[in-house]
């Protein structure tokens, strides 16, 4: 690194203080599940963070503690911590750059360390040895090396921060402090070439003053500038030009140092920057530009004071050549316009394309990325000759986009796949169809010739018949299974690994005297435990690559063969009981508590119209609550970190229908005010596996935790439930079926109105068996005595009409959506279909509850938007419309990903599903009388503070159509929203025996690496020749050594006497 920093002056940045931490003591705790890396081309500055952070605590009593590198997590700080009151905080900003050679470099970090120490001294924070912090930062970057973007323009931003955390309110030195470093990838400041900025030269406000802290990088310098920057924005400028004193000395630009390049009165070119007189931050980029500029002969560099008058004089006399700001974030940033005392000055900076600014930029970038031009030729030469590639990389060909099967456990069993810790490998054998399958199994000679096989099987053959046959015939020789999909056109007609009777393990099924195969094409393979790994490649390119190698190497017995290595080692084993117990074991000698598995479940989210809140002691009348249920999860045997998770017909269609209905109810809220029933919209997450979420919901209701959140709200108990309506497994079918239960409680008039309003719906005879649905649990827990249940589903009396139930093939193409051409407002068949279901349904609700006939209409656009957001891109305009910018930004990392429908282990796994549903559902069911009240952001916050029943969000997205768009400036949304974690009660009840079957106890194992690699198995002759050559080489080298020793007479075992 020092070689790169050719310009670095040798300055000491180590303190003489004996108290410091040591990088060698660093404790490293790595995360199990790394976050997905954002697309390096779409990085927003400061919005993405790497997986790990560095923290070092200090107390005056015991000095620095050991540095800890651990997964990024929020701090818990005492509210009285001094940093929160008196801004005892300093920080630094630097970047790590990955060069073309793959090496990671820091740019003059010694200067940052030096500055950090001076800042710390000024804030009476503890000092340390800068070298040691630098070493710690290097360790942190090594741990998160993958987060340094492999890009020629994106970098890893590093933010070391030191704060005073002593929890006392007196203004004084903090005797407890915390040093931490977070990092995160950032994109180039100017992704599309230089964009010059305009400045507001403010004569009133000032950034720093003599004797102040302008020369230190303290957080308190930056907060007060935001207000002035907003002033600049309101005048059409991007940044502020900070001036000081009566003579209007130019000091800084925004958060950057400033440089002015002009022809001085003597006629020579001069680069001027203000000197370090206490008002100026000693920037690293500033120093580098000065150092670099001094090596160039065509200009003189001077650090001197410069006033607005001099600048404007030079501008008037056409002597001003360029003006630019310099900082770590942008490197250099040209200035083209200044507003000063109400006048605009268009500077000459960009007239010739700012050649000096660009030269500085390019030279600095070349140094930072290690591309110094003089080395370029040498580097190309070396690279050309040596092709520096690790042998491992040359031995294997990886398939990164393979889907993999993981392990899940319940109270008594484990299911899924397991590989050995180093991966399972074996000879690859490809079987495309039934004929090839039988040829292979009868080829005794082939099977005997190898000890282990990885069978590559057409996905069409992945069913119990072929798998059982293979496992029985090959027995221990079957070391792994790779499935392939030739192309999207050749996908199987049916593909479902769920049971034929889903979720039947605890005989949940009501009225089912005999076993009904709702999912008759189900193979139950998901619920089998395989002793070998199974993977699946579903990308056409991957298949082509695979078959190409296979054909090349599989010609005859004498040529080398293809081998495959599948690695998907799972941490958990045996049962949930075992792995949950092991999660709790922590030996005091090892700090790191290891986690083997996580309970399955996400969030149960519920919302209703805010007008219907019942506050104690106001009694809720019996049978006054209608629950509308939908699930938000699904499972699939083969996972992929990015890519479709399936789950479109189950549960996405039902979810879109549910949200559309919520919108209609919100739209017609004036009608629903006229009656006394509450309609609560509930989403359940975790029902795909044994209805854990429903069990949790009923558990909460029975124990009086429903609705959660405010103790003054009247709890809803079972006797308050009027009825339950559920949307389940909706496929785009021409007919729908309404399942009801129990016949003694059902409301015939409601059914009649519904059937009359929507002729698509058929009624299943009461007391028929119920299909797989969450309501099964609601009924079972109440012995079917309390309320009726209506399930609207594309399931007829004995059959699910979804051919890909719980598999990743259940994607938008099954609803005849072309996902590549789907736009935000495309009207698709499915959105028309949903409109045909939801409108009559809402009419039925109004008619049966309020007693009036009303034609309700929903805008087609709203359904189209929901379809786009859920099936294609969750970072869609809708979510930005219903929230404000800061919430909207949290969806940016999920750009171009559809809503994932798989097994969630909240809060370990992060999924955008829950925030999306929370904000959209809350918004749809908002109190619409607030839309037109024109509340300001502050009064919206006040209301949130005073009202603990409702949530208030100030939305600065787009205007709802009610408001005139011209006068729109954000509005306050009042909504009712509650959510609660949906892990099974088995994990909540204390001392619950997990091997019992009262409640489901599903967990998902953790895993570290998943990989699929292809390699070449050499022939026996090849191996023997290699071995002999190796032995010969060893022998020869011994001989050479022997001769050398003989002739030189130097003994290696005795120190030379000379």
């Amino acid at each position: 690194m020092n070689k790169i920093c050719l310009l670095a002056l040798r300055r000491s940045y180590a303190t003489t203080s004996t108290s410091t931490f040591r990088a060698a003591d660093t404790i490293i705790k790595k995360t199990e599940h790394g976050n997905p890396k954002p697309d390096p081309n779409k990085l927003v500055f400061g919005a993405n963070f790497s997986d790990h952070m560095l923290t070092i605590k200090h107390t005056n009593a015991s000095g620095w503690e050991k540095p800890v590198i651990e997964p990024l997590k929020p701090f818990s700080i005492h509210p009285a911590a001094k940093v929160l009151h008196y801004a005892i905080e300093i920080f630094e900003g630097l970047k790590a750059y990955r060069g073309n050679d793959g090496k990671i470099r820091l740019f003059r970090p010694d200067l940052n360390m030096k500055r950090m120490l001076t800042s710390a001294e000024r804030s009476v924070l503890p000092t340390f040895d800068g070298n040691e912090l630098l070493e710690c930062i290097k360790k942190l970057i090594q741990v998160d090396a993958d987060w340094v973007p492999r890009s020629t323009s994106s970098t890893l931003y590093i933010r070391p921060t030191l704060i005073g955390t002593e929890p006392t309110l007196g203004v004084g030195a903090s005797n407890e402090s915390l040093l931490f470093v977070v990092t995160g990838p950032v994109g180039p400041y100017f992704p599309t070439g230089f964009k010059p900025v305009s400045l507001l030269a403010d004569t009133f406000h000032c950034r720093a003053f003599p004797g102040g802290v302008g020369a230190y990088k303290a957080g308190s310098n930056y907060g007060p500038t935001i207000y002035v920057n907003q002033l600049a924005h309101s005048k059409g400028c991007q940044q502020v030009l900070w001036l000081y004193g009566n003579k209007q000395h130019i000091t800084e630009v925004g958060t950057m140092n400033v440089f002015i390049y002009l022809k001085n009165k003597k006629g020579s070119n001069e680069l001027v920057t203000p000197p370090l007189n206490g008002l100026i931050l000693p920037g690293v980029t500033r120093q580098s530009i000065l150092d670099l500029g001094r090596t160039w002969k065509e200009l003189t560099v001077s650090e001197r004071e410069i006033t607005m008058d001099e600048l404007l004089e030079a501008h008037r006399e056409n002597r001003l050549l360029e003006m630019f700001g310099a900082g770590t974030a942008c490197i250099v940033c040209p200035v083209e316009r200044i507003i000063y005392e109400g006048k605009e000055y268009n500077l000459a900076t960009m007239n010739k394309g700012a050649p000096l600014t660009i030269r500085f930029h390019d030279e600095l970038v070349n140094i930072q990325f290690g591309r110094k031009p003089i080395y370029l030729f040498l580097q190309i030469f070396v690279v050309f000759c040596s092709q520096p590639k690790r042998v491992v990389d040359r031995m294997y060909i990886s398939f990164d986009r393979a889907r993999y099967c993981v392990r899940r456990l319940n109270g008594t069993h484990e299911i899924g796949c397991q590989s050995s810790i180093r991966g399972n490998s074996g000879r690859m054998y490809m079987i495309d169809n039934d004929q090839e399958f039988h040829i292979y199994l009868t080829d005794k000679k082939l099977i005997d010739s190898f000890n282990s096989f990885i069978i590559v099987l057409n996905v069409n053959l992945f069913n119990t018949y072929y798998i059982d046959y293979l496992m029985k015939h090959l027995d221990k020789k079957l070391n792994g299974l790779l499935l392939y999909l030739k192309s999207n056109l050749s996908r199987p007609l049916d593909f479902s690994h769920d049971d034929q009777c889903p979720n039947n393990r605890n005989s949940f099924y009501l009225n089912q005297t005999e076993k009904i195969n709702w999912n008759s094409k189900g193979t139950s393979l998901f619920f089998r435990s395989f002793p070998f790994p199974i993977m699946l490649i579903d990308e056409e390119d991957d298949y082509k690559r695979l078959i190409e190698f296979y054909r090349q190497f599989n010609n005859s017995q004498s040529s080398p063969a293809c081998g495959l290595e599948l690695k998907s080692f799972q941490n958990a084993a045996h049962t949930t009981k075992t792995c949950m117990k092991r999660n709790d074991i922590s030996h005091s000698l090892i700090d790191l508590q290891e986690i083997f598995c996580d309970p399955i479940g996400g969030l149960n989210i519920y919302s209703k119209l805010p007008q219907s809140i019942k506050i104690k002691p106001d009694q809720r009348s019996l049978k006054s609550v209608i629950l509308i249920l939908v699930t938000t999860d699904s499972f699939q045997m083969f996972l992929k970190p990015k890519g479709s998770t399936g789950g479109v017909q189950q549960p996405a269609t039902a979810l879109i229908t549910f949200l559309t209905l919520a919108h209609l109810i919100g739209q017609e809220q004036d009608e629903f005010k006229k009656q006394n029933k509450e309609i609560i919209f509930v989403t359940l997450d975790g029902d795909a596996l044994d209805y854990s979420a429903s069990f949790k919901f009923m558990f909460d209701m029975i124990n009086g935790y429903f609705p959660i959140g405010n103790k003054n709200e009247q709890p809803i108990k079972i006797e308050h439930i009027h009825s339950i309506i559920e949307f389940q497994s909706l496929s785009m079918t021409n007919e729908l079926w309404l399942h009801t239960h129990p016949s003694s409680l059902i409301n015939q008039t409601f059914i009649d109105i519904l059937l009359r309003n929507n002729p698509m719906i058929n009624l299943i005879r009461p007391n028929s068996p119920l299909p797989p649905a969450s309501s099964q649990i609601f009924l079972r827990q109440t012995l079917s005595l309390s309320f009726p249940v209506y399930i609207l589903s594309s399931t007829n009396q004995n059959q699910l009409l979804n051919h890909y139930y719980h598999s990743f093939f259940d994607d938008p193409s099954t609803l005849s959506i072309n996902i590549s051409t789907l736009e935000y407002n495309t009207t698709t068949e499915i959105s028309l279909w949903i409109k045909r279901i939801v409108e009559p349904f809402a009419q039925t609700l109004i008619e049966s509850l309020v007693g009036i006939k009303k034609n309700v209409i929903i805008k087609q656009e709203i359904i189209n938007n929901l379809v786009y957001c859920i099936l294609k891109n969750i970072n869609c305009p809708l979510i930005h419309n219903v929230t404000n910018q800061s919430i909207g930004n949290t969806f940016k990392p999920f750009d171009q990903t559809s809503m994932p429908f798989s097994i969630n282990t909240y809060p370990i796994s992060t999924t955008p599903t829950f925030p999306f549903i929370k904000y959209v559902l809350g918004y749809f069911l908002r109190d619409r009388s607030y839309d037109i009240q024109n509340l300001t952001k502050i009064s919206c916050k006040e209301r949130a503070y005073n009202d603990s029943f409702c949530s208030y969000t100030f939305v600065d997205g787009y205007a709802p159509s009610i408001i005139n768009e011209k006068s729109f400036s954000g509005y306050c949304v009042r909504s009712y929203l509650r959510f609660v974690q949906s892990i099974s009660p088995a994990f909540i009840i204390e001392n619950y025996d997990l091997s019992q079957t009262t409640y489901p106890a599903w967990t998902e194992s953790r895993w570290t690496t998943i990989s699929l690699r292809l390699f070449i198995i050499p022939t026996r002759t090849h191996e023997i020749v290699t071995l002999i050559i190796g032995i010969l080489l060893t022998f020869i080298s011994f001989c050479v050594l022997f001769f050398l020793r003989y002739y030189t007479k130097i003994s290696l075992f005795q120190p030379s006497s000379s």
């Binding site: 810790i421 080692f569 941490n571 084993a573 045996h574 075992t578 074991i585 083997f596």
Partner: protein, 102 residues
């Protein structure tokens, strides 16, 4: 290691006794060291008055070591075989919980 030849016979006996007694504090390695270190003194060198006692301590140390070996090996084998059957206790006794296996 200090050469025993340079020590006087009394000192040798003293060291040997201390090692022997120390071994009773559940420190079988002391017995093992005692046995190896004093083997020559007990059996090989020219006889001297304290040799009989040193020999006694060495023999007892060997026996002690042997018993300890049996105990440790038995426990090890038992633990490996029965760890999974012991349920929670097996896991609590395990220092590094195996990943991926029961």
């Amino acid at each position: 290691m200090v050469s025993l030849e340079k020590k006087s016979p009394e000192e040798r006996l003293n060291i040997c006794r201390k090692y022997y007694l120390g071994g009773f504090a559940f420190l079988p390695l002391l017995w093992l060291i005692n046995a190896i270190w004093f083997y020559k003194q007990a059996f090989k060198v020219e006889p001297y008055p304290q040799q009989a006692q040193i020999r006694k301590y060495v023999i007892r140390s060997v026996i002690g070591t042997f018993i300890w070996c049996i105990i440790i090996i038995t426990w090890n084998v038992m633990f490996q075989v029965f760890r999974t059957k012991m349920g929670p206790i097996g896991d609590y006794l395990t220092f590094v919980v195996p990943r991926g296996y029961y």
